[in-house]
Symmetry: C2
Subunit: 498 residues, 2 copies
């Protein structure tokens, strides 16, 4: 087989995926509501074509042929081969009829999750969620390569190379660090004023500000667009088409502001893949954790930076057309960094956020490596929220029903959020060794920051593993102490801890 | 072969087409500009899949099998079979490599058309347009069934059953009728006042009005959406997803107003196909002419109706927030029906519009049935404009370069516009025998009009031919005298001819 034949097959599979991505984006943005059953038919059919080709005869033949003749592949061909081989291994063993059965259960679980939320009663989800977990446990042996425990297998699907062993150690350190900071803030800190955060800014005022900001940060609107959705997301059809969405609330400007900055970080990652990876499965993020590191770098690292806000605040005031003219910069800046225990992950602040993730991680581990039954999940959930955050849900909607991930079968996904945050802090530390970040953020030209991220992260797409990217960019493996140090610097400053 | 196998194949082909339609809609609405080369790859690949399947082994086998066993097909199966057979016959004979060559020439022609427009010089398009015509002449024998002349073959692609013989006679009558009306208006008519038509209405004011109007007319936004584009269009993914677009000009409200009403007519057609035609090639319009009859029924028949505007004008004034408060209804209504010879088809009024079409028809006939060379086209064009409309283009941009159709290879398409207009007038005449249209348009509830059109036209999709639809709906064949009578009634009224 010629390499060109292999790459052409890979390309056509990517083209199918690209069409599917657009169909999906469209149904999440402005598709007429009654089009939904028709869209289901189209997506179902194309998804079928996509999977058939992904494990089809040409791919099988290519894998067998080049396995023993790697020297016939170019550098790029080798990288693509490795990625295709990984994906093939993940898909080929699971019996097709069990996978079809599982997809049906997932559909039911989504319906039940919505019902359970409406009734604020986890009990309505228990039965199907138990089935979802059972299917995952059934599939784990098919997926397993060298991972030590069942939950390691799930973790690896989202963060290649990550282990329970490593995460246990990292999360212990993070948990302890955050608790120490929270204790200091409670004893010695002065909470910032936040009353003006709910002042009205129209959608158009907010849009003008945040579009100005993300363009400066490097999100390229000639390779993207911004739409309105209830749940914000970024979706990329290719490196020249990385679309973001947001929700606007007139009395809560910070939601869309930080939301768009976050999604733009995901978009900038995709917009800066090396063009040589076009039409290959390498034109995607290295992992969910690395992807999240780019969005959180924008949202939290830059979005918490004093120099950045000092530069942007006059523009913000201008966009707000007088609404914030009486608020001094220091008060405004401090208001953005209030921290407060909360029940809902997506409403939480940048200090307590990792605790929400750690709770989910510990529960997932108990489900797959321990003996936790789905029925007991809400009880454990509520105990952990009380223990780590000192708050207790009044009902399951504020508790174990708040996230869509589990009913969607995405166990092992949550840790990516915390990993992304740790990666972002570690990358920031490394970046500061080379760039005067504060000076850049105080200037008109932010491009050196985007270029540093492109050079160390973006360009590689999925051609390198997360741990390699982090090691090469920062000179060491994942080290959570950068996150803790970073949190201390920000929060002790804002809370005026001496 | 089982009918179900045939229908499943047909369905999958339709699903591919559905995905292609979305890809196309997206690239015409808000796709990031730099995504274009990637989109070309996706569309190229899926178009290939679509055509392969359309003339593939399953379709071939089904056509051979059921040709001799029609009794094994259900009623629906028979209708689908006929349509598939027609489409197959159109595609199968043209040699694939000649078609590919032709597609390249078309791409070049589009580029050259843009260049020629920029230079206002038809000469720059002459060479490739000559090639386009040559390809069409080469393909005509492959397409020909029982049509008498080469141009009949082209006509039939857009309006099945239409002939040069019939059109010559019809267009003669229309030409003569319009010229008589124009003479009367010039001699005895009083032109309406139009100075206030350029008063500013914001996009939001215009949107509010026209959305209100098209919803009343029966365009269903739960099965559609309205976007902004430079060139307005309707595109339907399925009967529950018929999307329309428009362009807004603040100092020319009538452009978007009539534009949206027009596109909504196309959309209402698609939204009301019988559900039994879902996922078959019968879920499309019967012809371009019938499709245009639905948009023009909305735009011209309803959009010229005094009772309609009498009802809508207070709402219009409300949406304009004071801007038209000093304009009496009679003045407003009359301003909408000014007629004036013009050089540009899409800017022309509803009296002279058919003359623009007839000029193009006569030229196309000369190109394919006569001996006109492409090089001589602008000369003939300019002579005909002088003869029929009394105006002469200053340059080719105002003349033979104004439309995209010819450089796109769409010869035989233009007559659809005039046919649609004649069909609309004839349908209106028939509708008035059953419904009190003026009373309905003066009321709150327009639904009987939409239901009449659904009953006689919409529901059938492409399962009946245009001439059958018109005959069944109106009791006679295409008869242009309804259009002439209609024009007389409207224009003699507005121009106060006694």
């Amino acid at each position: 087989m010629k390499e060109a034949v292999f790459l052409q097959e890979v390309k056509e599979i990517q083209l199918l995926k690209n069409a599917l991505t657009l169909l999906d984006w469209d149904s999440s943005t402005g598709m007429p509501e009654k089009s939904s059953p028709f869209r289901g038919e189209v997506e179902g059919y194309l998804t079928g074509l996509y999977f058939e080709r992904s494990i089809g005869p040409v791919i099988q033949e290519a894998l067998a042929y080049f396995e023993t003749r790697p020297e016939e592949l170019s550098e790029l061909g080798k990288l693509v081969f490795e990625k295709v081989k990984e994906e093939y291994a993940l898909n080929k063993n699971v019996p097709a009829e069990r996978m079809q059965e599982y997809v049906k259960v997932l559909n039911q679980a989504h319906t039940d999750w919505l019902k359970a939320r409406a009734a604020q009663d986890f009990g309505l989800l228990e039965e199907t969620l138990t089935k979802v977990v059972a299917f995952q446990k059934e599939f784990i042996p098919y997926w397993q390569k060298e991972e030590k425990t069942p939950y390691d297998v799930l973790l690896n699907q989202f963060e290649p190379g990550m282990t329970v062993e490593k995460l246990d150690q990292v999360f212990d350190q993070v948990k302890q660090g955050i608790q120490e900071i929270r204790t200091v803030l409670a004893e010695k800190g002065t909470p910032p004023r936040t009353d003006f955060l709910s002042r009205k800014m129209t959608k158009e005022q907010q849009r003008r500000f945040v579009i100005g900001v993300v363009e400066q940060l490097g999100y390229d609107f000639s390779k993207g667009r911004l739409d309105d959705t209830v749940h914000p997301f970024m979706t990329a059809l290719n490196r020249n088409d990385a679309r973001i969405t947001t929700r606007w609330e007139e009395n809560n400007f910070s939601m869309a502001t930080f939301g768009v900055i976050h999604e733009a970080g995901h978009g900038m990652y995709e917009q800066n893949f090396d063009p040589k990876f076009d039409f290959t499965p390498l034109s995607e993020g290295a992992s969910m954790g690395i992807h999240e590191s780019q969005s959180l770098f924008n949202e939290i690292i830059i979005g918490s930076n004093r120099a950045f806000w000092q530069k942007q605040y006059p523009f913000f005031q201008e966009c707000a057309e007088g609404t914030f003219d009486d608020i001094a910069f220091e008060d405004f800046y401090a208001s953005l960094k209030e921290t407060k225990a909360s029940l809902i992950r997506i409403d939480s602040d940048s200090l307590t956020y990792p605790l929400h993730i750690i709770i989910r991680y510990e529960i997932e581990k108990m489900l797959f490596n321990g003996s936790l039954e789905v029925a007991d999940l809400p009880k454990v959930w509520n105990e952990k929220y009380q223990e780590y955050l000192g708050v207790s849900p009044e009902n399951d909607l504020e508790g174990a029903l708040q996230d869509v991930h589990w009913s969607g079968g995405s166990f092992g996904y949550f840790p990516s959020y915390a990993l992304g945050y740790m990666y972002a802090a570690q990358l920031f530390h490394a970046m500061k060794q080379e760039l005067s970040v504060d000076e850049i953020l105080a200037s008109e030209d932010y491009s050196d920051i985007r270029k540093w991220l492109t050079q160390h992260i973006h360009q590689y797409g999925a051609s390198r593993k997360p741990n390699q990217l982090i090691y090469d960019a920062t000179g060491e493996e994942l080290n959570p102490s950068y996150l803790i140090d970073y949190m201390k610097a920000i929060y002790f400053d804002v809370y005026q801890v001496q």
